[in-house]
Amino acid sequence: MSTKTRSHPPQPAARPAEIVREFGPFAGVTQVHGVSYDGTRVWAATGAQLLAIDPRSGEVTRSLQRTGDAGTAFDGKHLWQIAESRIDKIDPATGDVVASIPAPGGGGDSGLTWAEGSLWVGNYRGRRIHQIDPATGAIQRTIESNRFVTGVTWVDGELWHGTWEADESELRRVDLRSGEVLDRLQMPPGTGVSGLESDGADLLYCGGGGSGKVRAVRRPRAQPN
């Protein structure tokens, strides 16, 4: 028996995801990798540049010429962006890179989010999520998943991540300690989830990968346990 074989508790049934709104595709953009939200604007990493989108109008209000190949995060002041095998800390006002730390997956990284003083980084083919120290990049904790992890986000103490394998894509809420899947929202077939970020309330913004779109999905209210 392989040591990787673990028994997973039965998964909850998947519910269809309710897509509230779609933004884009935007001019000159073929890919959306990471997505973040700074309280007023949705940020999307599109490869060669970072776009700020006004969620009310759907218009691009600002663009930074910064490389973004995977997840994006916002810590209240700075943007964090995965570019190749490093994570850049970017000042959204000037677009300058303030600091860089090595990414924990060495380039296999996908999603990125900020919560409680740590960065959380999805590892796509590694099927796991790392919690890292934003100053040094040292790994503090690892959560295993059984799917390819794309975007990661925290909201109201819930850890959500996107999965995307071939044509199937889901948003999943997982238990922080055991990695157990608590909730599953299934995207329509062919609709991939690259980046993921919550708006702190009822919406989850999802990067649409090769579609070049950003989609807003309604987050189900936590059920009373």
Binding site: Q31, H33, G47, A48, T67, D69, A70, G71, I82, A83, E84, S85, A103, G105, G107, G108, D109, S110, N123, Y124, R125, T150, W164, E165, A166, D167, E168, G190, G192, S194, G209, G210
Partner: protein
């Protein structure tokens, strides 16, 4: 969809194959293998590219059907660039239907185009035409549309339809410009130049006049009875009587056509057909037999009457008789002219058609192959010869992006 894969794909899309390789050079997961394969193909390392793409296709999981199909398609395109035509054709059909099923229309059409070009290179023109018919060029990305039109143009040229070929090349030209790929634009220009080169000579009264393809076509469509010494046969008003496998009958027909409207002397006919300078009664008897065979074959096009000196050609409906010869004289020019029909010929069939020995044909094709004017497919006894392709597609630029979600 992880960071380095995205960065590498971005470099590849910008034409920076080395930059793409640098980012994934040490990784062996399937998307990285696929990217390495495509980058190697763009650098011209076809054998290595093929190996990497094969490994990538094998390594993708059972759920990653689309990614695997794209790898197989890229591998097929690399095989085409290597002129390795040995693979089974159904692989591309399967890939195409898989991609169609998953909504990847552009790559599904691309797979069909690769299949059509493969048939064209194999000399299987009806298969190529049937495959190409299933491709709807509307809504294709410009680069693919240009390739589709180039393929259609070559098919039309091989069947001597210069009008459709011109139209397809004009559309290919526009599409290549829209795609903005310089090498593709150059290929289309090269193909258009080929249309303006002399493709045959018209022999009449001891003089020769060079003809372009559209002029040949006009001649064939007109009222003349044409003895085509390029493709070896007789043509009139859309009818075609091949004589490529009947060298003696062809030699007789050619002598009769060249002598028209006069008759051709018996001894001259015997000298060209039987290659003897000292004819006797047996040769005259053989001549009567062969003329009888030719008469039966071309009955609908022309009659062959005996005269006191020999025989004369009497076209049925046609007002004149025209002889078309290859643009230059000699064994090699005749070979190239025969192969211009795009079909695959064996050495023995060529020798039979030209009335020479197989060894002579082998020597001639070896020289032509070294000069890049013909190409051989298959091995040893199964070896067949085809004309060099009209256009050498800039294959590698069109490799699909073999990424999940790309």
């Amino acid at each position: 969809m992880d960071a380095l894969i995205a960065a590498s794909a971005r470099a590849l899309a910008a034409g920076d194959a080395l930059g793409a390789l640098k980012r994934v050079a040490l990784r062996d997961d399937p998307p990285a293998l696929a990217l390495r394969g495509i980058a190697m193909a763009q650098l011209g390392e076809h054998a290595r590219a093929r190996d990497l793409l094969r490994r990538a296709a094998r390594a993708f999981g059972p759920h990653e059907e689309v990614a695997r199909a794209r790898c197989v398609l890229a591998e097929a395109e690399v095989a085409l660039a290597m002129r390795d035509l040995g693979g089974p054709p159904r692989v591309l059909a399967t890939v195409s239907s898989t991609l169609d099923k998953h909504g990847d229309r552009a790559n599904a059409l691309h797979a069909r185009l690769v299949a059509a070009r493969r048939f064209l290179l194999l000399g299987r023109l009806p298969d190529a035409a049937a495959t190409l018919e299933a491709v709807d060029p509307r809504g294709l990305p410009p680069a693919l549309a240009a390739v589709a039109e180039l393929t259609a143009a070559e098919l039309a040229l091989r069947t001597l339809r210069s009008g459709p070929a011109q139209a397809a090349l004009a559309r290919a030209h526009q599409a290549a410009y829209r795609a903005g790929i310089p090498s593709l634009i150059a290929e289309v220009a090269e193909a258009r130049a080929a249309l303006d080169r002399p493709a045959a000579r018209r022999l009449a009264g001891g003089t020769a006049q060079a003809l372009r393809l559209d002029e040949i076509e006009a001649l064939l469509a007109g009222g003349a009875l044409v003895l085509d010494a390029c493709r070896r046969g007789l043509a009139t008003a859309g009818a075609w009587q091949p004589l490529a496998r009947r060298p003696i009958l062809f030699a007789l027909a050619r002598s009769l056509a060249q002598a028209w409207p006069q008759d051709a002397e018996r001894d001259a006919l015997i000298a060209t057909a039987f290659r003897t300078r000292r004819p006797d009664e047996t040769h005259r008897a053989r001549l009567r037999v062969e003329i009888g065979r030719l008469r039966a074959l071309v009955r609908d096009m022309a009659g062959i009457e005996a005269t006191p000196r020999g025989f004369v050609l009497q076209p049925r409906a046609a007002c004149e008789v025209v002889v078309l010869a290859p643009p230059i004289d000699g064994e090699q020019a005749s070979l190239v002219a025969l192969l211009a029909d795009g079909a695959a010929w064996s050495t023995s069939a060529l020798a039979l058609a030209l009335g020479t020995s197989q060894r002579t044909v082998q020597r001639a094709v070896a020289e032509l192959e070294a000069a890049g004017q013909v190409r051989g497919i298959g091995q040893s006894r199964a070896r067949r010869w085809l004309a060099a392709p009209l256009v050498d597609f800039t294959t590698i630029l069109l490799l699909p992006a073999s990424l999940p979600g790309a």
